[in-house]
């Protein structure tokens, strides 16, 4: 099962924001979407999540996303936008429970999913606190937990996709690693073979360490979509980002490790 884009193009007026993208992301895979500011990463995310109109075709498990209702889309993919503003007092448990609001799960099943999701993001300890009083990173973890809960909210046999826009932007170092390795496990775990994740990341080393594939964008075009070892090649990174990096390899995993030159 897969999330597939065919000839995906987006225009804002005369400006082409995404130019004829073609790629396939399979379930069981974690894909990093990387590129400089304005490369079209968030626009791509909005297309894949069905929120933005586009030319071409995006299919979710071989079904065109445009042919699915908003409620159907929610059953097959969960999305974490870059920012979420909440103006009313809600406690953490209620926030996560909202992911299950449109389902008919029993109260106990809901509680189990909520607790599991919060545990995955290391947020069990503030389950009863007021969301508005949490720190930025804590809020982000709660939002990730909500999105994870949505993945488990619906009972069906098809694969599900996670679309996360900079899920680590507010996290401390420990939680950046913790969340990404948790997501990776979620995708690769034998029992969860049918989850795929697309993650917008700015830290290329995190992408290299934790993601199976990297989707490199520049100016709305797809430069390369492959494993980190292939995508992260010195000259390509230098050209795409306009910087000078030295590519080393990580001592533990031998994955490419990017060191900027000063």
């Amino acid at each position: 099962m897969s999330l597939r884009a065919e000839n995906l193009t987006v225009r804002f007026g005369n400006k082409i924001v995404l130019d004829d993208l073609n790629f396939v992301c399979s379930s069981g895979e974690m894909t990093a979407i990387v590129g400089e500011n304005g490369a079209g990463k968030s626009t791509l995310m909005n297309c894949l999540s069905g929120a933005l109109n586009f030319e071409g075709l995006v299919t979710l498990n071989n079904r065109p996303i445009k042919s699915m209702s908003i409620a159907q889309q929610a059953q097959y993919r969960a999305v974490l936008p870059q920012h979420s503003t909440i103006n009313f007092p809600l406690d953490v448990r209620e926030i996560v429970r909202l992911a299950l609001a449109l389902t008919s799960l029993s109260h106990d099943d809901q509680e189990a999913i909520i607790n599991d999701s919060l545990k995955l993001v290391d947020a069990r300890q503030f389950v009863n606190r007021d969301y508005l009083k949490l720190s930025g990173g804590e809020k982000q973890r709660v939002q990730i937990a909500r999105v994870l809960a949505q993945l488990r909210a619906y009972d069906h046999e098809h694969s599900r996709f996670l679309l996360l826009d900079e899920p680590t932007s507010a996290l401390d170092l420990k939680h950046q690693y913790a969340i990404l390795s948790m997501l990776r496990e979620l995708c690769s775990a034998a029992s969860m073979r049918d989850i795929g994740a697309l993650v917008i990341l700015h830290d290329l080393n995190l992408a290299s360490l934790y993601c199976d594939k990297v989707l490199l964008l520049k100016g709305g075009t797809l430069i390369k979509h492959d494993t980190p070892r292939i995508v992260f090649e010195g000259s390509r990174i230098n050209d795409t980002f306009g910087i000078n990096v030295f590519i080393d390899s990580h001592p533990d995993t031998q994955q490419p490790y990017l060191v900027p030159r000063i």
Partner: protein
């Protein structure tokens, strides 16, 4: 994928917490029902001349035994006070539920049908109908219905104008929303003022009624029109409780979670226009109920619309019925326009909320 939930050892603790939660909600609900009933009783028992707490029972006995016509006081109770109290409950409920749902779809606690100009729009519709339709022969029997429909139309026009004026790149900015409300309020106030002077003899009375609200003209027909309308609105909004809750996460998040956001917003706008239209048609503009009631409930109870919709209806009704009793008693035998009372309580509340928002959102407001 199998989503069967794993059984966790803390199930017992969770269940007892859920139980305690449910009991708390049940106590809240019973308390609100108790308040509504006692205020209703008080409203019927308390009159301009004297207070007799057995009066409702006596009047009811006369009503059942057929002796109603012979006893003037009991007749007043049955045909003036009782519908008036019921009308206060209904109008208060309509305004509070509208406020709660408008706050939901604009994700801001400052939304209120009065502040946003919806009530004024309804009043313009009603005034126009009263002034120009009295000449129709049909007005004899269809008057109250026509006025309600016109008020609904006025409310709907105001609602959608304000809503579309406030949209910036597809998002509702609460500052523009309130400013649009100010504009619509000013325009409607001018129209009502102008129209009231066409109907010279009643001009002043009309202005007072429409701009400051009154429940003095409540009767059983008004109750019969308002009650089912409001029942429908509360039921329909309650059915949207999950969507309203999800919208609290932001429109994008609600959509990603499966809410057809545009459809829900449209439905809520029509429903609030309907509730406010009918309320205003029979009571004029009564402000701030829609602002104060959901705020109190969120503070003492829960943000969850599962409880907020029904609780708002109950507390809104109770609050307005209480305000109506006060408006009858404070300067008896004259009556204080009820809108003045609700504004006296509501405006400081609004200022408090503004300060709170300013602190939290900084320049956002």
């Amino acid at each position: 994928m199998q989503v069967s939930a794993p059984i966790i050892s803390t199930t017992l603790a969770k269940s007892s917490r859920a139980l305690a939660q449910n009991r708390k909600r049940l106590i809240e609900l019973s308390f609100l029902v108790f308040i509504v009933s006692s205020i209703t009783w008080m409203g019927v028992a308390i009159g301009a001349s004297k207070v007799d707490f057995l009066l409702p029972l006596k009047a009811f006995y006369d009503f059942v035994s057929g002796g109603l016509e012979s006893n003037v006081t009991h007749n007043i109770v049955a045909n003036i006070r009782t519908p008036r109290v019921l009308m206060a409950l209904l109008v208060g409920a309509a305004l509070a539920v509208s406020g709660a749902s408008l706050q939901g779809i604009c994700r801001n606690p400052l939304a209120d049908p009065g502040l946003l100009g919806i009530s004024s729009g309804a009043a313009v519709g009603a005034v126009i109908m009263i002034l120009f339709a009295t000449y129709l022969p049909a007005f004899e029997f269809a008057g109250p219905y026509l006025v309600s429909i016109a008020a609904f139309a006025g409310a709907a026009i105001a609602t959608f104008s304000v809503y579309h004026l406030a949209q910036v790149n597809g998002n509702i900015q609460i500052s523009t929303f309130l400013l649009a409300g100010v504009a619509i309020n000013a325009l409607c106030g001018a129209i009502i003022g102008g129209l009231s002077f066409i109907a010279d003899d009643q001009a002043l009375r009309l202005i007072t009624f429409w701009m400051m609200g009154s429940l003095a003209s409540a009767n059983w027909l008004a109750v019969a029109i308002t009650a089912p309308t409001l029942g429908f609105v509360v039921w329909a909004i309650y059915r949207k409780r999950h969507a309203l809750n999800l919208i609290l996460l932001g429109e994008a998040n609600a959509r990603y979670s499966g809410v057809d956001i545009e459809r829900v917003k449209n439905q809520i706008l029509w429903l609030t226009a309907l509730a406010v239209g009918v309320a205003v048609a029979f009571s004029g503009i009564i402000g701030f109920i829609g602002l104060v009631v959901p705020h109190i409930l969120r503070a003492i109870s829960d943000t969850n619309y599962r409880y907020l919709v029904v609780n708002s209806a109950l507390l809104g009704g109770a609050l307005l019925a209480l305000a109506d009793i006060a408006s009858r008693m404070l300067i008896a035998p004259a009556e204080l326009p009820i809108g003045i009372l609700t504004s006296l309580i509501g405006a400081p509340f609004f200022i408090g909320l503004l300060i709170q928002q300013k602190k939290r959102l900084g320049v956002r407001l």
